[in-house]
Every structure is written in structure tokens, then in C-alpha cells.
């Protein structure tokens, strides 16, 4: 009888571990917004990949630069061909650590995520305040942060310098579900 309990306990422990493994989304949302006196520019990306390891509190985000959709064809073309050079650097990534992840438990909780953002082949350390929501089996993370265009070695021609802001606002919304193989 004791053996059965033992096996049962082990089984429960393992299944708990398993359920606390990786959470993932392939349909995450990231957008950026540039405001200037001349015009506002916005682009949306709804194909963002994000994985959270709930054991360690690590988060890894990957997105394709070409998945950013603009309103105007010319903006999208200039963005990909001249500014971020998508043919050379097709992806942007963020690898970070969720601070105090284990203490997050409430419905609406905020914490800091620290990590390295890589855009246009350049790394930059960023710190983001993100909102966490735990619903059933889902982990939702959302928030926004500012990035400086100059930090990523992105050259903007002087002709359109007044059209594009020096600091861009990035908004994200990632709804993770348990990862099943």
C-alpha cells in the first residue's frame, strides 16, 4: 500500500512539474508608434513568437521584421529595405528575465522584465514594466516601452528626419498557453 502512495506522490509531483514547464504563443502582438509633427507612423505585427519558462522566469521573444504591416506601401518598403535592412537582419529578438516571477500570483500584477533587445543586429539592454494576468491556463503579459532609434544603428536620411521620431514607443501583448509537443 505504501508503495502505491509513493508512486502516486511521485506521479503527482511529476505532473505538477510538467504543467509548470513552458508557455508559448505564436500569435503575439507587437506594434510600434512614431509621433512627429509631420506625421504619425504605426506598424503592427501579429505573428510574434514568445516562450516563458515558468521554472526559471526566463522569457524569449522572436519576431520577423517583415511581419510589421504599415498603412502605406512606401513606408513598409523604406522600413525593410533602408532602415532595418530586413534582408540582412530578418528577425528581432528579446531575451530576458522576469524579476520576482515566483511571487507573481494575483490577477493583475506588475513586475520588471530585464533583458537584451536585438534589432538590426545591435544589442541593447532594456528594462520593461509589464502587466501580468493569469487566467486558467493562460499567462498574459502586456505593456509598453520606449526605444531610441540611434541605439540600433538605424540611419534615417535627412530628408525624412522630421517625419520619424527619435524615440519610438513599442507596445506588446503576449498571450501564452501551455506548450504541448
Amino acid at each position: 500500500m505504501r508503495k502505491v502512495y509513493f508512486i502516486l506522490i511521485i506521479f503527482l509531483a511529476v505532473s505538477k512539474l510538467y504543467s509548470q514547464g513552458k508557455y508559448l504563443t505564436k500569435e503575439g502582438y507587437v506594434s510600434f508608434f512614431s509621433h512627429s509633427l509631420v506625421e504619425d507612423i504605426k506598424a503592427d505585427n501579429r505573428q510574434v513568437l514568445s516562450v516563458i519558462d515558468t521554472e526559471t522566469g526566463e522569457i524569449a521573444v522572436q519576431l520577423l521584421m517583415r511581419s510589421f504591416l504599415f498603412k502605406k506601401a512606401l513606408m513598409q518598403q523604406h522600413f525593410n529595405e533602408s532602415y532595418v535592412e530586413s534582408h540582412k537582419f530578418p528577425k528581432a529578438t528579446f531575451n530576458g528575465h522576469i524579476l520576482n516571477y515566483k511571487e507573481l500570483n494575483n490577477q493583475n500584477d506588475e513586475t520588471e522584465i530585464k533583458g537584451i533587445l536585438t534589432v538590426h543586429g545591435k544589442d541593447k539592454e532594456v528594462s520593461v514594466i509589464a502587466k501580468f494576468q493569469f487566467e486558467k491556463d493562460q499567462i498574459d503579459i502586456s505593456g509598453d516601452f520606449m526605444v531610441e532609434v540611434a541605439d540600433f544603428d538605424i540611419k534615417i536620411p535627412s530628408v525624412v528626419r522630421n517625419n520619424i521620431a527619435k524615440v519610438i514607443k513599442v507596445t506588446f501583448e503576449l498571450k501564452h498557453i501551455p506548450y504541448k509537443k
Partner: protein, 141 residues
């Protein structure tokens, strides 16, 4: 004399307004209409997946930013933020071709069934865990 000057002025205004019109039109041009544009290539889902598994950089050069007409078996259908996503099956692995549908296709997406074969047209943006196609429309099923 006055008449000549007047004509030059009219001509000048005409040229300026025409070039302004062209520039503004070019500047405000919307994104390519996928439904109306011809596909750059027609391909089976498995072929594009094989190419990406072999070499992502070469595959990117071949497919990215092109309008691709792709045929494959539906492995999953989901709706995210009001837009349909159709996954085409990878017979050799865990990957897939994820086709993010245009909002106009929502009604058609609801009628689709898993396991059936479909042809979809969209723009390839690259590869994460899956091959990603955006702004897709259904050709036939």
C-alpha cells in the same frame, strides 16, 4: 508680352501640381492588393517547409516578400483577435505553414474543416517555428 508671361505662369503651375499629385499618390499608395495581384510562385506546403529546414537564409531569399500561392492539408484552424489562422501540415516534422488570413476571409475560414486540402495566396515574411504567411486569401478548397 503679357500674354506670354501668363502662359509661362500657367505652364509652371500645371507642372508643379501634376508632379505634386504624382508624389502624393506614390506616397499614399496602400499595400499591395493580394487578391488582385498575380502570385510570384505556386508551390506545395511541404516544399517550402523542406527548403526552410535545409537552409533558412537561402529559403528567405527565395520566398520572403513574394506573393506565394501555396497548397496543403489543413492541420489546424484558429481565430486570434478576430482574424483566422490556418496551419498547413508538415508531414516530416512538428512545424507548419501558418497562414494569417485577411479579415475579409473570416466567413470562409469558419466553413473550413481540418484535414481537407486548400490553396491559399499570401505574402511570406519568413520562418520562426513555422513558415509565416500574412494577408492571406483563400483561392479554393
Amino acid at each position: 508680352m503679357k500674354n506670354k508671361r501668363f502662359k509661362i505662369l500657367i505652364g509652371f503651375i500645371l507642372i508643379v501640381s501634376i508632379s505634386l499629385f504624382i508624389v502624393l499618390n506614390l506616397y499614399n499608395k496602400p499595400l499591395l492588393n493580394i487578391a488582385k495581384s498575380r502570385a510570384d510562385m505556386e508551390i506545395k506546403a511541404q516544399e517550402i517547409l523542406d527548403d526552410y529546414r535545409k537552409d533558412e537564409i537561402i529559403a528567405n531569399k527565395k520566398y520572403v516578400d513574394n506573393v506565394i500561392q501555396i497548397k496543403g492539408e489543413i492541420s489546424n484552424i484558429s481565430i486570434e483577435n478576430g482574424n483566422g489562422i490556418i496551419s498547413l501540415k508538415d508531414l516530416k516534422g512538428e512545424s507548419s505553414v501558418m497562414c494569417h488570413m485577411s479579415p475579409e476571409e473570416n466567413l470562409k475560414v469558419l466553413k473550413l474543416k481540418k484535414g481537407s486540402v486548400i490553396t491559399i495566396k499570401g505574402v511570406c515574411t519568413g520562418y520562426l517555428l513555422d513558415v509565416v504567411l500574412v494577408r492571406c486569401i483563400i483561392i479554393n478548397n
